[in-house]
């Protein structure tokens, strides 16, 4: 959240527009895989779902690229859209089951930045 005395220039006097989005994007705490043996199940679920989520994101990006290139037919776009939506819903259910948040599925890879 930028303090006023560090604002160099803004195209709008409404700094709250930025504050709101930055507040949502803030990730103040490091994300780690839970390795506590007593919570092994949650840790494993976190690891597996993180990977699934990564694959889902990558496939979705790939699909977007192909729509952008115009190499997908209308029908294919419909089908992919449906698939990705179902996948997202299923992921949300699984996250619920294991009590995981989106943040917990986004690992910090140090100098490489965040995974997702």
């Amino acid at each position: 959240m930028p303090r006023d005395d560090h604002v160099l220039a803004s195209s709008t006097p409404r700094l709250d527009l930025f504050a709101e989005e930055l507040g949502q994007a803030a990730t103040p705490f490091p994300r780690r895989i839970e390795a506590d043996p007593e919570r092994l199940e949650k840790g494993l679920a976190q690891l597996v779902l993180t990977l699934v989520e990564l694959l889902r994101e990558l496939m979705e990006r790939q699909a977007l690229r192909r729509i952008d290139d115009g190499t997908l037919t209308d029908e294919e776009i419909d089908r992919l859209g449906e698939t990705f939506m179902l996948l997202e819903q299923r992921m949300a259910e699984l996250k619920d089951v294991f009590g995981l948040t989106d943040e917990e599925l986004n690992m910090n890879l140090g100098p490489l930045g965040n995974l997702l």
Partner: protein, 222 residues
Amino acid sequence: MLYLYAFARGLGSLPRATGLKERPPELVAVGSLDAVVSRHDRLEQEVAADALVAHAEVVDALMAETDEFVPVRFGTVFEDETSLQNAAAGNEQALEQVLRKVRGRVEFGLHVVRRPGAPVPAPERSGRERLLGKLEQLRAAEDAAELDEPLVRLAVESRRRLLRTPRLLLSAAYLVERPRASEFAERLRELVESRPERLEVLATGPWPPYSFAELEDDLRAA
């Protein structure tokens, strides 16, 4: 307990700032560096606005005193001096590396959001619309990312993140040599002036180089 603000070298005097909970900052020698800390009986886990400001004030004051320091993110606490010494010793090389990178440099920030009223894809629609909505967002973010190409070239190093939220198209941080800081600030102002109509742009800085001094994770692990 010790609350850590930064590591510094060759500091003539202490940063002139109040410190967290009005506990004055002091220096603890750790290897060839000084840790800038304040001492506390206990510290709450919660993030309070005044605590964030106190942290920032100490590090800002430090930036005015020296160009050889590594800012540490808010909320880094050690049980006692020994645990601080251990963490610093275990991360000696990493600290030196970061210090070399950020020495004599400051950070600027740039955030680009969609104007209010500009459509943001709603989540509950058909799969096709959802996918096409995401594509539109990705294009908008990539357009926003092109805005700052001249800044990236002026900076020593830069970090850009697209779409941290559906409205926040671009968030960027730039590491800039201090002698070039005013030129860089001028470029940022120009960019804000000349932004496309559908976007709002916020430029910030100069900051202590927080985004390029990532150590926190290692320090805690040590």
